[in-house]
């Protein structure tokens, strides 16, 4: 479990990015952290892994404090940054040098994931394309079997088949003890993969809810004209009518559109907080 207690963070004390953020993240969920560029997604992840320190408040991950960066904590968490760092070694050398630091690393799974993601095993890692390097890092991170997996824009640089393969892999490695946390602004990549959504904008947490709750409370559909008498979170004119996100007062089933949800929540945060109260 990840617990934020009154977390305040800013690159300067005068301009705080997050102020008094309090929230709990439960095990056994795949979280999608959505936000615009510069909204503070990466900052939040870095605070969670301990490469940035809160100015005030605390973060606790399974009872451990990230800031101290103790080996016993770092063994249980893996962070994939948006850009990729790979040393000039082969995959086998990398596995021999880095895997011993992670006690739950599974070599068989690692090579299986590489195969599934179609990463070439020969040659040095720094000679691979950006997409191949990214897939390699994802395969290694998954094979480490850490309790918490944080990924910053994991689908950046992946081609379309790799994105599908990535979704399958994430689903296959998920279990009820794990937390997988992905930040992205490419919302469509996370559809059908995540079961909890967090939306941040300008350092504020606007939404923290499960997909099930969102589907219960909101209805996503295309209509000829915007409905009257219901709360409308978002409207967008399309070729075949108007796409709307409205309050689901009739208990209708509809397919979640993350992009429209995101636009609705960022444009209309007050209504979003009314529908999905935080804490």
């Amino acid at each position: 479990m990840i617990q934020f207690n009154n977390l305040s963070f800013g690159y300067s004390r005068k301009r705080l990015l997050y102020k008094n953020l309090t929230l709990s993240i439960e095990n056994g969920s795949i979280y999608g952290l959505l936000g615009k560029n510069g909204a503070g997604k990466s900052t939040l992840l870095k605070n969670m892994v301990g490469t940035l320190f809160p100015l005030e408040g605390t973060i606790s991950i399974n009872g451990k404090e990230p800031k101290s960066r103790k080996p016993s904590f770092l063994q249980t968490i893996y962070y994939i940054a948006e850009d990729v760092f790979v040393p000039p070694v082969t995959i086998k050398q990398y596995e021999r040098l880095f895997a011993p630091f992670y006690p739950l690393f599974n070599k068989e799974s690692f090579y299986k994931y590489l195969l599934e993601l179609e990463v070439s095993i020969d040659g040095k890692l720094n000679k691979l394309s950006f997409g191949q390097q990214k897939k390699f890092v994802i395969a290694f991170a998954l094979a480490c079997n850490t309790e918490v997996l944080l990924m910053d824009e994991p689908t950046n640089g992946l081609d379309i088949p790799s994105k599908a393969q990535f979704r399958k892999l994430i689903a296959s490695v998920m279990n009820e003890d794990r937390i997988i946390f992905m930040s992205t602004h490419q919302i469509r990549d996370l559809e059908n993969m995540i079961d909890k959504v967090m939306i941040v904008d300008d350092g504020n947490l606007l939404l923290h809810s499960s997909i099930t709750t969102i589907a219960e409370k909101l209805c996503f559909k295309t209509v000829t004209s915007p409905p009257i008498g219901v709360k409308v979170l978002y409207t967008e004119k399309m070729l075949r009518g108007t796409s709307v996100v409205i309050e689901n007062i009739n208990g209708e089933d509809s397919a979640l559109n993350l992009e429209h949800l995101f636009n609705g929540v960022t444009e209309n945060p007050a209504m979003a907080k009314q529908l999905f109260p935080l804490n």
Partner: protein
């Protein structure tokens, strides 16, 4: 689990540190040794043995050691590189010790061993090339000798300057993420310039005809062509010595550890 130091984990970290970028690390060490060899040869060719030994040792040891020290924490050029380093499951003490071992102990042992072998080859070649029957043989033979790496005033000063420069570079590479060596060198030059002029101002206020006032040993008075040295009182001299030889380098190297613990990226 011991979160401060674990020998197995430290061995893994050391192995990883050396083998993950062997070309850079071993290549840089090779480059330093080559530079020293070339410098020795060039100065030997243009001046003589004593100068070749002094100049190559000073520049090879201080210059090479400083460059290597700027490299050992060189993970922070990119966000991903820095994050990967900081989140690797090893303690800050182990990561710091690993860098100290490479920039301090390994460099010291490899450089001094190489220097001794190189110097031995040059000196032996010189001695063998002498004419045994010449009346000047003994004098010429004694003129060139193996460079003493211990109890040698120049070498002792070089060790101290290296310990301070490498310490500054270790800290600097944890403050500046990109081109740390250039930024730290500029900063050191500015600081040394400020110290010099401050010392000159203080010395000029106390004495007239001050010529040079570099702290703490080189404060000179020049009257016409005569130059005199202003010496610190014995106790102050000893304290300066202890500060520069031990306290300052120890503080710098330990500060690098504290900075590593607090490093954010």
């Amino acid at each position: 689990m011991n979160d401060t130091f674990n020998l197995t984990r430290f061995s893994l970290l050391l192995k990883k540190t050396v083998l993950e970028r062997p070309v850079q690390l071993i290549g840089l060490m090779g480059l330093i040794l080559c530079f020293t060899l070339i410098l020795y040869s060039l100065v030997l060719y243009s001046i003589d043995y004593g100068s070749a030994q002094n100049i190559s040792f000073i520049w090879g040891f201080i210059g090479g050691g400083t460059v290597l020290a700027s490299f050992v924490f060189g993970y922070f050029n990119t966000n991903a590189g820095g994050s990967a380093y900081l989140t690797l499951p090893a303690s800050a003490l182990e990561k710091w010790l690993c860098s100290v071992l490479i920039a301090g102990i390994f460099f010291l042992v490899i450089f001094l061993s190489f220097y001794r072998v190189m110097d031995y080859i040059f000196v032996t070649a010189y001695h063998k090339g002498l004419d045994h029957t010449s009346p000047l043989y003994q004098r010429l033979y004694d003129h060139v000798y193996l460079y003493p790496l211990y109890q040698n005033n120049v070498v002792n000063k070089v060790y101290i300057i290296w310990a301070n420069c490498a310490g500054v570079m270790l800290i600097g590479s944890l403050y500046f993420n990109r081109v740390a060596i250039v930024k730290v060198s500029l900063l050191v030059c500015v600081v040394l310039g400020c110290i010099y002029f401050l010392n000159l101002a203080v010395a000029s206020a106390l004495f007239s005809n001050i010529d040079v006032a570099f702290p703490f040993y080189t404060v000179l008075i020049k009257v016409r062509s005569e130059v005199g040295v202003i010496q610190l009182p014995q106790r102050a001299y000893q304290m300066s010595d202890i500060f520069i030889n031990y306290i300052l380098p120890a503080t710098l190297w330990i500060t690098a550890y504290i900075r590593l613990r607090e490093k954010e990226i």
